[in-house]
């Protein structure tokens, strides 16, 4: 019996019992669907994280104070107050560094007229929009001169502008931060929420000198944002920054840095790594359900062999060889799992669309997961179909014919 005839026989046998065939395939449908939907959630999350980091600028580096140890007691990171304006300025000497922006953060109640709003005040340098890849929507950003002279000017994030001005033109208006008047000279473009609870637009940007002197009352800076000349040279920039700061901070060779340099691609990588773990976890759980589906196929095939002993006997009596019976049942199992795989792919794609639309998840279907699920469902069919098929082929024709 050739393969084409075998497939025909198997299809006929499946068609004769549509309900049972469907229920058998259901395990595979759900399994494959789950793999695709789950992996699409993981991939979607990974993609979203990567996109967000990209929008922040991939050649971005952060310098923060390190931890300090005093008589054996280790403080947490950022506990040093050892970064200064001069440090920031010195970094410009490194040839892999394009520009820098010192940063001093504060939080305060902001008042305009009879409205008030609690928000973050970021004291930054004039090159902040360039480094963060974030443009002004309306008005202008403050200049280098305004930073140097510590002018009381502010650029609003769109969320703050919305809450304080409610659609009115904020340009030229005076807002009060801790009773100190700031003139609004611009509004930033909307960036959207990041991570769900942290709104990047809920912020006021002001010259760091002004924030240092008027709001925070400190003479150091809390961190330095640096942009490397290119993404490729960000590792080089990291090394150069470390070199410069070690000399400036008089750190003996072999001693630990009292600052940290992190570049964005590192941070993006570790974030992508954690979402990859999520993907693997979800995919793993879904694979288990696919395996259960396979066992379901084996179960039904075994029952089906018992139920069809007479049929097998009849086939043998008219000349079916062991191989023919083996192939027929194996083909049935493979056809079921392949059809199940195809329907499962459709179900998975559908489910991931639903999740994206109604669940608010970001999902991304990668061809790899479809191919993997399909191949896996096929092998499940072969693996779990083989035992029942072999059992059927080894039946004795006489016993099978007289089986009631």
């Amino acid at each position: 019996m050739n393969l084409l005839k075998t497939i025909r026989v198997a299809l006929n046998a499946l068609a004769r019992n549509k309900m049972r065939s469907f229920l058998t395939a259901l395990g595979i449908i759900i399994g494959v669907g789950a793999v695709i939907a789950m992996v699409s959630i993981g991939q979607g999350a990974k993609n979203a994280v990567q996109e967000r980091f990209q929008s922040m600028g991939t050649n971005l580096l952060f310098v923060r104070p390190g931890s300090r140890s005093f008589r054996g007691r280790q403080s947490g990171g950022g506990s040093y107050n050892n970064l200064t304006e001069a440090d920031a300025a010195a970094l410009l000497k490194a040839d892999a560094v394009k520009t820098v922006s010192p940063s001093v953060n504060s939080r305060a109640q902001v008042v305009y007229g009879n409205k008030n709003w609690n928000t973050s005040i970021y004291g930054v340098g004039h090159s902040y929009p360039e480094i963060r890849n974030w443009d002004v929507e309306q008005g202008v950003f403050f200049t280098e001169g305004q930073v140097r002279s510590g002018q009381k000017v502010a650029v609003l994030g769109s969320e703050v502008s919305k809450n304080l001005f409610e659609g009115a033109d904020p340009l030229g208006q005076i807002i009060r931060v801790k009773r100190i008047p700031f003139r609004v000279i611009g509004v930033m473009k909307e960036r959207g929420e990041s991570g769900g609870w942290f709104n990047q637009d809920d912020v006021i940007l002001a010259p760091y000198t002004t924030v240092q002197n008027r709001l925070a009352g400190i003479d150091y800076i809390q961190s330095i944002d640096v942009s490397a000349v290119s993404m490729k040279r960000s590792d080089e920039a990291t090394r150069q920054i470390e070199e410069i700061l070690r000399i400036r901070h008089k750190i003996a060779p072999g001693a630990e840095d009292d600052f940290n340099v992190r570049n964005m691609s590192e941070i993006a990588e570790s974030a992508a790594e954690s979402t990859q773990i999520l993907t693997n976890l979800l995919g793993g759980i879904a694979l288990v359900s696919l395996l259960v589906g396979g066992i379901g196929i084996m179960n039904i095939m075994l029952v089906s062999v018992t139920e069809r002993i007479r049929e097998i006997g009849i086939r043998m009596s008219v000349g079916a060889r062991e191989r023919d019976i083996l192939l027929q049942f194996l083909t049935e199992a493979i056809v079921l799992s392949f059809l199940g795989g195809l329907l499962g792919i459709a179900a998975g794609v559908f489910a991931s669309r639903l999740l994206a639309k109604f669940g608010g998840w970001e999902t991304l279907i990668v061809p790899g997961s479809i191919i993997l699920a399909f191949i896996f469902s096929g092998s499940v069919g072969i693996f779990f179909g083989f035992y029942p098929a072999r059992k059927a082929s080894k039946l004795d024709p006489i016993e099978a014919l007289h089986y009631e």
Partner: protein, 234 residues
Amino acid sequence: MENSNLIQLENISRTYKIGITEVRALKSVSYNIKHGDLVAIMGPSGSGKSTLMNILGCLDKPTGGKYFLEAQEVSTFDRNKLAGIRNKKIGFVFQNFNLLSRTTALENTELPLLYSNVPSKNTKEMAMKSLAQVGLAGRELHKTNQLSGGEQQRVAIARALVNNPTLLLADEPTGNLDTKTGNEIMEIFTRLNKEKKITIVLVTHDPEVAEFASRWLYLRDGDIVKQDNTGEKR
């Protein structure tokens, strides 16, 4: 061909082991069947006639003795070779029809061809012809459960004939049918025997059915007790 031996049985024995006891279903049977014979095997239940039938049909192998079918010693063949013999040379008709359920008459008749070398495009036509021979033209697409007992047995005969076998084996072919339908079935057998020269061996305990045969063979306790070629019964 007419007078040569189609089947030659030499001291055939068949012993079953059930636990530690041995059951000797056939003790020592020697018998020849010629091309074109219509043989009736008779005997009480437990006499070994079904066992003999299974061996003749290559469904079972003798534990002793030799079985030649068209001069081939089939008693030495393995499972797969026997399946090939069943497919090409032998057609079966059973008491309970043994048709595939929820399947059309045509599909049932095509079944042996699926396991043969016949190209797929010819199987339908051959099955149609075979069904026409047993008077079922026009009922090809009826499912087996829509057919009467007599019609089901005709489908079984059509299936047995589709591969043009040299030997047709019938195990109590009229056992589940009323007398009138049974006679119709037997008429088909005799017609096939006369017109197509197909050798037919049938097992029955019904003397009226046995009357259609030209030779008789009586079994008791695994041995031939009487054989008769004259046309006289019992």
